[in-house]
């Protein structure tokens, strides 16, 4: 197959003196196979594995809704994404205490999981049909997270926070614009949050 016929004489013809021997030259194809598979590996990796991952995001619609869902402020955790990879958080609205943490596994994740466990104990879960399957009911936590980024935050922070929502299994979260009251709250945590509930709802639904 990979032999190269060097002799042009037909078999059976008597060999003459001085003519090249009839042994066929074998070409070793092993390096060529090596090269072939090397290139295959390269193309497979660059085509299949280089396909980028995406994170699907759904943003709230700008049209105001008439009947906003009823949630008490005790179920709400607000995250304020600040400068230098710091995240500030406070619970509820009245008597809000500002605290800060990091995006590490034992920072934000612990805050979220603790709060979620507390709310699930206190309020229980809602049973709602999972999307796509009308029969299957899924227990949905009432825990709600509002994500608000300050202008000093960077893009990575936003992706990190969305990731944490997924890791901690937060069912309700929304990303909305930060209010001037909250920016003042970060600058002066002792001053408290000067906010009324109507403003919070208005901010959340961009009325």
């Amino acid at each position: 197959m990979a032999d190269i016929q060097t002799s042009e004489r037909r078999a059976g013809q008597p060999s003459r003196r001085g003519s090249p021997s009839r042994s066929a030259t074998r070409v070793d194809l092993t390096p060529m196979v090596d090269l072939g598979f090397l290139l295959i590996t390269f193309f497979m990796l660059t085509t299949i594995l280089s396909k980028p991952q995406v994170m699907p995001v759904v943003m709230p619609d700008k049209t105001p809704i008439d009947d906003p869902p009823a949630i008490t402020h005790r179920q709400v955790l607000t995250l304020l994404l600040g400068a230098n990879d710091k995240v500030y958080w406070y619970e509820g609205i009245t008597d809000a205490q500002l605290d800060s943490t990091t995006y590490d596994a034992d920072g934000l994740r612990r805050v979220l999981l603790e709060k979620k466990a507390r709310i699930d104990r206190e309020f229980g879960k809602v049973s709602r049909s999972a999307p796509g399957s009308p029969e299957q009911k899924k227990a949905i936590s009432k825990f709600t997270v509002l994500i608000k980024a300050t202008p000093e935050a960077r893009y990575k922070n936003i992706v990190d926070v969305f990731d944490e929502m997924k890791i901690c299994g937060v069912d309700h979260y929304v990303m909305i614009d930060i209010s001037p009251q909250e920016e003042a709250f970060i600058r002066n945590p002792a001053g408290g949050l000067q906010f009324n509930e109507a403003e919070q709802v208005a901010a959340a639904y961009r009325k």
């Binding site: 197959m1 990979a2 074998r26 070793d28 194809l29 092993t30 060529m32 196979v33 072939g36 598979f37 290139l39 295959i40 193309f43 497979m44 660059t46 085509t47 280089s50 396909k51 980028p52 991952q53 995406v54 994170m55 699907p56 995001v57 759904v58 943003m59 709230p60 619609d61 700008k62 994404l81 596994a105 980024a149 300050t150 202008p151 000093e152 935050a153 960077r154 893009y155 990575k156 922070n157 936003i158 992706v159 990190d160 969305f162 990731d163 997924k166 890791i167 614009d177």
Partner: protein, 214 residues
């Protein structure tokens, strides 16, 4: 000494068949491989645990570099030609037929409308290296909205004509150090033209829930 000492043959395996297979596969992968689209800026995307792959459908990519400059790229030459014709009618840019054809293969662009003509007149290699200000996204001078809106309309028409299978998937690809206000402007623009669903391009990161389970 035994008389019939076995002669030492080196077993030779015929590699021809294996070579054939290797190169057949190689040819297949080379032909199915899609050339990586050239991007005007290199973007270091943040990592996330999301494992969703980018959909096969045509993508409309909004590229935001670390300084907050916005570039736009859309797939499909038919759509691009239809889009640039529409844009040239709605917002006269004085583009000639030739320049419009150039736009269909120009890839990602990051220039305001009034500079698009001179940008398209550049040679292909110059276009990649020249400094561009990015597509304006300010609320007073927002050109990103009309571009995306018209691109989606063009793609929808192409779908109805059967030239493309799907509508555009909106993809946001931003550098991890991009300041939030730049992202916010783009997201607000998208919401204003009723694009509430889009995808953020991220690189892979291990999911702690899954690594713990192992």
């Amino acid at each position: 000494m035994p008389k019939n000492k076995p002669t030492r043959h080196i077993p030779t395996v015929d590699m021809t068949a294996m070579c054939d297979v290797a190169f057949l596969l190689l040819t297949f992968f080379m032909l199915t491989a899609k050339a990586k689209p050239q991007e005007p800026v290199s973007v270091d995307t943040p990592s996330s645990i999301s494992e969703t792959k980018l959909p096969e459908a045509g993508t409309l990519t909004i590229l935001i570099d670390s300084e907050g400059k916005v570039y736009l790229d859309m797939a499909g030459q038919h759509t691009r030609l239809s889009l640039i014709k529409d844009m040239n009618e709605q917002y006269p840019m004085g583009l000639t037929e030739e320049e419009q054809l150039k736009f269909t293969i120009a890839g990602a662009f990051g220039v305001p409308r009034n500079q698009l003509k001179s940008w398209l007149d550049l040679e292909g290699s110059e276009r990649a290296s020249v400094k561009v200000p990015g597509v304006p996204t300010d609320s007073v001078n927002n050109e990103l909205g009309p571009w995306i809106h018209n691109a989606r309309l063009a793609q929808f028409r192409m779908k109805q004509e059967g030239k493309v299978p799907d509508e555009y998937v909106i993809v946001l690809k931003a550098d991890q150090n991009t300041p939030y206000p730049a992202i916010q402007k783009v997201i607000n623009t998208l919401i204003d033209i009723n694009v509430n669903k889009f995808n953020l391009i991220t690189s892979q990161e291990a999911d702690p829930n899954k690594t713990n389970a192992l």
